[in-house]
């Protein structure tokens, strides 16, 4: 390991980009904005690659820690530092964040070229990279929380990028507020960590837990559940997934970078980072697995009937994140991270391809108005095909290896793991179906839209697409064995080894067969008999409506959470507390002052002689009190008044 890697520069360079474009962007020429915006992630990426050299050579290289010499918080026994940790886990994540991030920055140059707020867009994108790298590099939970909140902020700003559109502004707020619920869990988890371990540093917590293997469950379960609530918020799992589909209001490259490839996977990363806690709590692990599997299936069923191309991809993202949670939940952290990486490739690819389609047909996102695009957009068609094959899990595309690793890990766990495996398999079938549905609707058949694209997207959009396409093909070839061996210093060795090579092969064949079945059904419905889907929807009105309305979850939350909360805020907090209590007190004080004044103002008669009379009376009273000792006068006069009053 070389002496200093200057990890602190990795977040700070994008931050500098944010400051330059954010403050000066309006006055800078466009080429300079572009240069600054692209240099920041490129510099960060090259720093990461430089740091990676030390890891790829040596086997099980130790973690590299960089701590700011000036502490952050030093109160009593509480010590928190600005410390960055580079180990195998954060390295993989950093490569994804800066690598895919850089590609999406390039893509954005083409995609956002004609948009208003070009500098604002790139400054937010750089800000996101700053917080995301802080989150990934953080060596303690509090610093991770800073990055965690920061990416939430960047996400909010970018979802609401078209802030003149009400729906975009609302979607931004929804994402932020729903994330707050998860962040609340994360924060409680941090407090509990502090109370039980006296430190927030991940490595020190790991040392303490390893020293005491008998410590299981109990408060660790509570901590792990709190942390997984945070992860469920950020990674859009049940029951907090509702913000992610709406987040598609943002520009498409943002959906690709933040809401598919990197930020939403932060929850998975966080679980992998704190995996020692989860290893000590089987119940929390089981919860994560069940939530993941349920989310994967649930989101996939909704994805079946969505007509907005970005929404299909959004539900598919939620579903794939469910896979990653499932992987974490069966303690196959390396498989989850593996899927995180390959998913970052093929989902960023799919989103960017969708962006290229949308861009070329004038902003139309409805799949029903596309069709026959493959002639006009051959490159986009080719890379989308790669992405679809990858996400459906066909050999030898990237998704096959990672999805297989998760399903295998679930299967060999035995018992309830078999159920989880089966749910995952059904999800794979649905995934394959809805992705091929998208593929058929968008690219094949006859054009159904009014706008016919004239030409492919500019090269700045095509180059990232092609690179991501190659990564989606080759990204899985490293194989789960080598990948988990590489990650083992960070997340522990691959636990589920009770299977046999034969079993692994059989499970792979089953998974591919299921994916083929999904393709076959999509082919029947959307190529051979295009009228069948409508007939099916008419034949099953109940289930179709249920799915098309996304199980009425938004309506349910609206009725059970949002409305009562709004009513509580409006009536109790707004009327009773604000207007009544606070406003009332203020009015009372002001009113009493006014009333006292209106009485006292009669003294201010402007009549010189009345002033003089009061002056004389006052002087006389003072004289009286001085001459006659008031201690005797006072009780006597009170007595007198008492008597006069009639007692």
């Amino acid at each position: 390991m070389n002496g200093s890697l200057h990890l602190w520069l990795i977040p700070l360079l994008p931050f500098a980009g944010f400051l330059i474009n954010g403050i000066l962007g309006r006055r800078l020429p466009k080429w300079l904005i572009t240069t600054v915006a692209l240099l920041a992630p490129l510099a960060a990426l090259s720093l990461v690659l430089n740091a990676a050299q030390g890891f790829f050579g040596a086997a099980a290289a130790p973690a590299y820690v960089e701590t700011c010499p000036v502490g952050w918080i030093n109160i009593g026994t509480l010590h928190v530092d600005f410390s960055f940790v580079l180990d195998q886990l954060s390295l993989v994540m950093l490569l994804v964040v800066t690598g895919v991030g850089f590609l999406i920055h390039i893509y954005s140059v083409g995609y956002m070229g004609d948009e208003e707020g070009y500098a604002r867009y790139f400054s937010f994108l750089n800000l996101f990279l700053f917080f995301m790298t802080v989150l990934v590099l953080a060596g303690n939970a509090l610093l991770m929380f800073v990055g965690w909140e920061g990416v939430g902020l960047a996400s909010y700003l970018l979802i609401g990028f078209y802030f003149k559109k009400n729906s975009a502004a609302d979607a931004g707020k929804k994402a932020f507020i729903v994330n707050r619920i998860g962040d609340f869990g994360f924060l409680i988890g941090i407090f509990l960590l502090l109370a039980n371990f006296g430190t927030l540093s991940f490595s020190e917590i790991g040392v303490k837990l390893n020293a005491d293997p008998a410590w299981q469950g109990g408060v660790l379960t509570v901590i792990a559940l709190c942390l997984s609530l945070g992860a469920a918020g950020k990674s859009a799992q049940l029951p907090l997934y509702i913000w992610l589909p709406d987040a598609m209001e943002g520009p498409t490259p943002v959906s690709a970078l933040i809401h598919a490839a990197t930020m939403v996977t932060a929850g998975v990363y966080m679980i992998a980072r704190t995996h020692i806690l989860f290893d000590h709590s089987p119940f929390a692990l089981g919860t994560v697995a069940v939530v993941g599997a349920a989310t994967a299936l649930f989101a996939a069923t909704i994805g079946l009937v969505q007509n907005d191309i970005k929404r299909v991809l959004a539900y598919s993202t939620i579903s794939q994140l469910g896979y990653m949670f499932l992987g974490c939940g069966v303690a196959a952290y390396s498989a989850a991270i593996f899927h995180l990486v390959t998913h970052a490739f093929f989902k960023a690819l799919l989103f960017l391809a969708a962006g290229a389609i949308i861009h070329s047909i004038g902003g139309e996102q409805d799949l029903r108005k596309m069709g026959g695009l493959w002639r006009r957009l051959p490159i986009t068609f080719a890379v989308t095909t790669v992405g679809v094959l990858a996400i459906a899990g066909f050999f030898p595309f990237a998704g096959f290896f990672s999805k297989d690793a998760i399903l295998y890990a679930a299967f060999v766990q035995g018992g309830s793991g078999r159920v989880l495996w089966f749910v995952g398999l059904v999800t794979a079938l649905l995934t394959s179906f809805y992705m091929f549905r998208l593929w058929y609707l968008a690219f094949l058949g006859k054009p159904r839209g009014e706008v016919v694209p004239h030409h492919e997207a500019p090269w700045s959009m095509l180059v990232p697409l092609v690179i991501l396409g190659l990564l989606s093909i080759c990204g899985g070839w490293i194989g789960i064995e080598r990948f988990s061996a590489f990650l083992s210093p960070s997340v522990g060795a691959r636990t589920a080894e009770s299977g046999t090579p034969n079993l692994e092969l059989i499970l792979s064949i089953v998974a591919v067969a299921v994916a083929l079945a999904g393709w076959f059904v999509a082919d029947r419905l959307y190529r051979q008999k295009p009228e069948r889907p409508a007939e099916l929807a008419a034949a099953l009105p109940g289930s179709y409506t249920l799915l098309a309305h996304k199980y009425y979850v938004d309506e349910f939350y609206g009725a059970t959470v949002v409305k009562p909360l709004l009513a509580f805020s409006k009536y109790l907090l707004g009327w009773v507390v604000d207007v009544g209590l606070l406003g009332g007190t203020a009015w009372l004080l002001a009113g009493s002052a006014t009333m006292t004044g209106s009485i006292l103002q009669r003294w201010q008669s402007g009549n010189l002689r009345s002033y003089a009379a009061w002056l004389a009376a006052g002087a006389a009273a003072l004289l009286l009190f001085i001459v006659i000792p008031w201690a005797t006068v006072w009780p006597a006069s009170m007595d007198f008044i008492w008597k006069v009053a009639g007692h």
Binding site: Q601, Q604, S605, L608
Partner: protein
Amino acid sequence: MSLTQAVPLSWYLLLSAALFSLGVVGFLIKRNLITVFMSIELMLNGVNLSFVTFAHQWHAVKGQIFVFFVMVVAAAEAAVGLAIIISVFRARATLAVDRIDLMKL
């Protein structure tokens, strides 16, 4: 020395108090601004008398010095006051204090 023996101290003080009270009463009941002004002078001189009396009684010169100060201030005040009275009369053509009530709310 002979003075105090001839006339007791209390007489001077009574005279002083009578002068002061006359001033107060005049200040309160008179309507003409000039009379009010003269009443103030009367009060000042009542106080001056008691200053002189006590100074003589205690053989302390401080009280007499105070009297000079009061006289100087009263002279200056008379100059300023009369100037104000003249300008008030020019502006409002009256010197009745009840009608000079511009400060009223």
